[in-house]
Amino acid sequence: MPQALYRPRLAGLTRATISLLAITPSLLFLLLALALPLAALLSQALHDRAGHFVGLANLRDYLANPSLLAALGNSLILSLVSAGITVTLAFLYAYGLTRTRMPGRGLFALIAQLPLLAPSLLPGIALIYLFGNQGILKGALGGHSIYGPIGIVLGEVFWTFPHALLILTAALSLADARLYEAARALKAGPWRRFATITLPSVRPGLISAFVAVFAMVITDFGVPKVIGGQMPLLSTDIYRQVIGQQNFQRGAVVALLLLLPALLAFLIDRAMAARPGAALGGKAVALVAERNRAVDTVFLIFCAAVAGCLLLIPVTALFASLVRLWPYDLTLDLWHYQFDMADSSGWEAYGNSVKLAAFTALCGTLVIFPGAWLVVKGRAAAAMRQGIHALALLPLAVPGLVLGLGYVFFLADPDNPLRMLQGTLALLVICTIAHYYSVPHLSAMTALRRLDPELEEAGRALKVSPAVTLRRVTLPLTLPVVLDMASYLFLSALTTVSAVVFLYDPDTSLAALAVLAMDDAGDTAPAAAMAMLIFATGAVARIGWALATAGLRRRTARWQTRKDG
């Protein structure tokens, strides 16, 4: 490159040092908050209770127990079934949203986001009121019990639906109208066009969605904890081993087993993502859905039915939280919102959750965005940047329960100076950022990659520091994505139970954990009330954030168009 010739060597060195200094915090965070706890967990699984190295003996013991093997089988089957149902429904729903002209598409897209606002315990609780022994729609199950596989699958489908929909909507939005025109010219009927153009083009999306849902279900314990009955599953077993029996070694072994399918799913997904051909060529013409009364009506009915089911869950939970004693005393009041009588941490836990969500959103964005910026735009220390990227993707494959348990072992070491963080909100913030690191990292990277590298070249030519380019150009251009990262982290922190369940102490209990505790104690209605409080907080935060940042988004958008035009 010609500039390199007249760039003074000293400046180049300094820049390398600067990026090295800048890159260290991100790498350090990922090492401390992710890699070391996981290493601690692995090591624990290979030792016995007294701390002697026993290799795979723990695993052999575990596998020798038939009921625990049954848990493995159940987990696999239920995750496959849930993923199959969710992906089928989400595909048709996404098709309706992207490829038809049915009315109400915006509303349907909005309703499909609702499950993101709730901890996975909420669908479990609502399903008890809908299909339990006193359920409003009990007859619909034809005598089968909701406690067990049926309840688990229904709850998981609700909870994972928006995640699958997101992937599939994106996949279906990429379509080249020229292919469809060509097919039509060749007299291919609608089914033929669907089978030979649409399906192949979304296959990576379908696999990706399937894998994502599968990994979410196999690692979730919220739904089965509430409505799983006596059905043994890996995720509830790890909880029972660790919380119920304080058998941490056993918990570590189950955690390893839980890590395997999630890791496998992750590798399949990465392999799919690496395959070329999914992207559209530069000459592609965007497909505009045509009006077709019959198709539009069919999809309208289908989407309305799905949206109705999605709405039914929070509406039922809201109703359950307001009724005095279902089904005998139908007085409506706020009695169940007085958490003092049901759970000792009640409203304080709610306050902690809001704090955790705010800190996670802010600190998480501040940690993750610079990391992603360095991976994409950094020019020095290639190995370290690769390291950051690899570690940043790791949480996709690591279930929250596994990560949380890793923290327990990591901090149990008396020589660890981070021990003082035990039980603090700061620890919960760190763990939650690590747990949800990947998605914001990937979206920041995508946004940064989309920026023309010429912007940086221009900055260099003008001899301004990369920091100035970042502040004046890159950040404003990627601002919408940064704001979405914060919003994603906020909602995730508000609803999470899996990693933090092993880490809180009485002063730092969280709202979602209070839901778990109250349901455990049989206080289902107060549990529903707390879950609805989380739901409402998520909704208000999301809308409020959109309104508060609308001005910022508008300004950057205006600026961008001015630049382009």
Partner: protein, 345 residues
């Protein structure tokens, strides 16, 4: 283009850092006592308020969970205990801890006034009872009448196939209430007949819960017709208007004491002792008496609604030392028989 709003970022950061640090720097002039407890959530507030009013220099910090979980946690933390006092767990559990050498002996002031049956009789007592917790059946009147079944009066009535899938019971591994039932059946019927009874009962059980009061709450909402639980929860729910019938099975009731002891190695021994001293006072007993029909001090007369006055005579004779010594074996056998049961049929 300048993002003016970004200039408030440093300010916001400082504010947040202060917020994060705040819980740590909260001034603590009072001695904060970490008390592990299996007491019901709705009892904690009153006990804490009364104790702190009487001892303004000490503050209780509850860590609440089911009895079995609390014990498992204490045992796991044996090398470096985090609890100062353990309160409101069963005497059997405290004896188990005592066998592990985990309790600090202390005879609270006023111990002599406690009923002999409700305290550690050794010269160096490690625990003292608060009240008696006894098993009870919560039967949903509405559901039972809908099914047209007679009110069960004996434990063995519960094995009637008509109740299949309509009974819930606490898991003895995690719930003190669950364990005292299992332990009483084994002592009352003998081991062989006891396990045979539980096998038959298991065929009717819809699910084993984590907590001792959940089965009663599920009967209150009619979700399951019968909940094996304890008398406090039954009385409380009936008072709140739940359509429940309280049954005390005729063969006799399993029971245990709720008790309190000091964790050995606590750096806050003096404060821990004040809590034990308070726990045996008539004032504390008056609070227990609002919840339980039999309390440690004879002069305090409980009056718990819906609990018959002759409750004491319905309790079976129970050997707590035997139960403590055999707890691990009983739970392993229970787990072998019923844990593997999958509801997926």
């Amino acid at each position: 283009m300048r993002l003016r709003r970004l200039s408030i970022l440093p300010l916001a950061l400082v504010a947040l850092a202060m917020g994060l640090a705040a819980p740590a720097s909260r001034a603590q002039e009072k001695t904060s006592l970490t008390v592990y407890t299996g007491l019901e959530a709705d009892q904690l507030k009153a006990y804490k308020a009364a104790f702190e009013a009487a001892n303004p220099s000490v503050e209780i910090r509850w860590v609440r969970d089911s009895n079995g979980v609390i014990i498992a946690r204490l045992l796991a933390e044996k090398a470096a205990p985090k609890a100062d006092v353990v309160m409101g767990v069963t005497a059997t559990s405290l004896m188990l801890m005592d066998q592990e050498g985990m309790l600090e002996p202390y005879a609270p002031a006023g111990l002599a006034q406690v009923k002999p049956a409700l305290r550690d009789s050794r010269p160096q007592p490690t625990w003292v009872g608060m009240d008696v917790l006894s098993s009870a059946l919560c039967v949903s009147k509405v559901e039972r009448e809908k099914l047209g079944l007679a009110l069960p009066t004996r434990w063995t009535d519960l094995t009637d196939p008509a109740w299949k899938g309509r009974i819930t019971m606490p898991n003895p591994a995690s719930s003190g209430t669950g364990f005292l039932m299992v332990s009483a059946w084994l002592q009352m019927m003998g081991e062989e007949k006891g396990w045979a009874f539980m096998d038959a009962l298991d065929r009717n059980i819809a699910s084993y819960s984590h907590s001792g009061s959940k089965p009663c709450k599920q009967a209150a909402t009619g979700e399951f017709a019968i909940g094996l639980s304890f008398e406090y929860r039954a009385s409380k729910l009936i008072e709140q208007g739940a359509p429940l019938e309280l049954v005390l099975p005729a063969e006799g009731l399993g029971w245990d004491m709720e008790a309190v002891g000091i964790v050995k190695g606590t750096p806050k021994l003096a404060a821990a002792r004040t809590l034990l001293d308070w726990a045996v006072t008539p004032e504390a007993n008056a609070l227990y008496a609002q919840n339980f029909a039999i309390v440690a001090r004879p002069e305090v007369q409980p009056k718990v609604p819906h609990i018959p006055a002759d409750l004491e005579s319905r309790l079976v004779k129970q050997d707590f030392a035997w139960a403590a010594a055999n707890r691990d074996r009983i739970l392993a056998e229970w787990s072998r028989r019923y844990d593997a049961k999958s509801e997926a049929k």
